[in-house]
Symmetry: C2
Subunit: 327 residues, 2 copies
Amino acid sequence: MNDFYKGKRVLVTGGLGFIGSTLALRLVDLGADVLIVDSMIPAYGGNLFNIEPARDRIRVNFSDIRDAYSLDYLVRDQDVLFSLAGQVSHLDSMNDPMPDLEINCRSQLSLLEACRRRNRDVRIIFASTRQMYGRPQYLPVDEDHPLVPIDVNGINKLAGEMYYGLYHETYGIRSVRLRLTNTYGPRMDLRSDSKGFAGIFIRRALLGEKIQIFGDGHQRRDFNHVDDVVDAMLLAGADERVSGECFNLGHARPYRLLEFVETLRRYTNVDFELVPFPSERQAIDIGDYYGSYERFHAATGWEPRHDLDEGLQDTIAYFRRFPDEYL
Amino acid sequence: MNDFYKGKRVLVTGGLGFIGSTLALRLVDLGADVLIVDSMIPAYGGNLFNIEPARDRIRVNFSDIRDAYSLDYLVRDQDVLFSLAGQVSHLDSMNDPMPDLEINCRSQLSLLEACRRRNRDVRIIFASTRQMYGRPQYLPVDEDHPLVPIDVNGINKLAGEMYYGLYHETYGIRSVRLRLTNTYGPRMDLRSDSKGFAGIFIRRALLGEKIQIFGDGHQRRDFNHVDDVVDAMLLAGADERVSGECFNLGHARPYRLLEFVETLRRYTNVDFELVPFPSERQAIDIGDYYGSYERFHAATGWEPRHDLDEGLQDTIAYFRRFPDEYL
C-alpha cells in the first residue's frame, strides 16, 4: 500500500475536518498530490489548523460539495477520491432535514455524475456510517443486518451510499463504502455539541466541566481511533479486490459509556452525572451498538491497532498541546 | 370503509395521473371532498380528461410537489393525503437523476415537514414501489426481502418511503406505505415510452403496431388492475390498525411477458417479435419478479378482484372509447 499513493492525485472532500485532515496528512507522507475540498461551514468542523504540519504541501479548494459545477471541474484527473464531506449531526438532521439531504444524498449523486461525465477511472472511498442499521437487531452488527435507519441522517446516508454501489455496478465507477462507527482522536471537532458524545465528553474533560451521561451509562458502543480509520481508508483505496464492496469498521472491544468516562478519568480530573434522556435524543438513540469488521479484516487484513485507553491518552495529549485551536 | 370517506377532506398528489385520477373518482363517489395537486409535467402522465366524469366535483390545484411553499399551505385541514405524485421512469432516473431525486426523495421529505408543521393529524398513504427490492433473491418477494435497488429511481423511492416510516415513528404522523407492482387499466398513460412495458404494449396493440419484447419473453411479472390498487389504497387509508406499516401489493398469478402479449392478442390483432435487450435497459432489468401480498391480505382482507384477462379486456374497451384522449 505504501507505494500505491506515491505520485497519485488524490482529492479529499471534507479534508479540513477531523478524519479528512488526518487522512490528508498521511497521504502527503505517502507521496500523494493532495487536493482538499472543504466548505468551512462553521458548525461542520473544518479547521485549517488541522493540516498545519503540511500546510505548504496540500492544496485547499474552498467550496461546498453542493456546488455541482466546481465539483464537476475538480474531479477531473484525480486518481483517488475520498468522499468524506458530510453533515454528521443526527439531531440537526431532524430539526432541519434539508441541508442533510442536500449534502448526504443529493451531493453524493452529483459527485458520481461528475465522475461519470469527467473521470470514470477514479477510485472512490465513501465514508458511510453505522447509523443506517438503526437499532441493532443483533450484536455485533454485520453488513447483512437489515437497514432500518431511525433518523433523517441515516436515511440520507443510506441513499448516498447506495448511489455509490449503483454507479459501480452500472458504470464501473469503482468505489468502496466504509461504514464508520464512533471515531475519536487528535483533530476531532470538540466545539460542536452535535457530533456525538465522544467529542463532548473529551471537551468537558479537558475543560474540567462535569460530563452528563444520558440514561444509565450502560449503553455499549465501539470506538475507532482516527489513525485506524485512516488505515482502513488507505487500504480500501489501494486494493482493487475490494472494489464495489461495503464494509463495517469497528472494534473487538465495546465499551459502556461509563467505561469510556472512566477511561477518560485516568488522564483528566473530570466528574460525571447520570441524567434522564432528553426526549428528542431518546427518539433517535440506537441503544447498544457494536459492529463486526470481520468481513473487512478477511478481505484486507485490517484491524484496529489502538485500544481505547492509549487512544484517549494520545488524544488528550494532542489537545493539551493546542488548546487555543480546539477548545 | 364506504362510510369512512364521506365528508372527509382528501388531498391526492399526482391526482391527474393514471392511478391518482382513478382514486379521485372513487373518492368522489364515496362522498369525499377531493383536492387534486398535479404539476401537468407533459411526460409524467397528468391528463385532465381522466377526471372528466366528475370534473365539477373535484378541485384541481396545478402545482408541483417540489414547490414546498404551496404544499405547506395545501396540506392544512386535510384529513387524508394520498401521496402519488412521482417520477416513475427508471430509465429517465438513470439518464437525468436529479429530477427523480427532487421529486421522489426531497419532495416527500418536504411534504412530511409540511405535515409536521401544519397538520399532524393527517393520515397518509404513500404509493411506493417494488423497485426497491432490486433483483429478487427469492420468489414471491415479501416485505422482508433485502432492499437492493438497482437504479436511481429505486434508491430515491426507498429513501422517500423511509421518511414516511420515520415521521410515523418519531412524530406520530400516520402513514401506510404500499409497494405497487405493475399496474394497468383505464386511464393509464399510453403515450410515454418510459413508464414500463405494459403501457407500451397496450398502445401498440391498439395502434396495430408490432410489439417488441426484450429478451426471450419468459420473464415473469405480476399485474394489478388499477381498481384493485385503488381498493388497497382506500382500505389502507381507512384502517387505523395498519398505520405505520409497509405492504406489498401483487397478484397470486404471475404471467410471463409472452403470456401477457398472448392475452392482449385475444382482444386486439397485435403481432410481436423477440429482440435482444438494449444494454441500458439490461443494466436495470430485475429479471423475474412477483410479490407476496399475504401480509396486506392478513391485515385488511384485500385481494385482487381482477384477473389479467378480463382486466385487459376492460382496459382495451376503455381506450377504444376514447382514442383521441390517450393515443
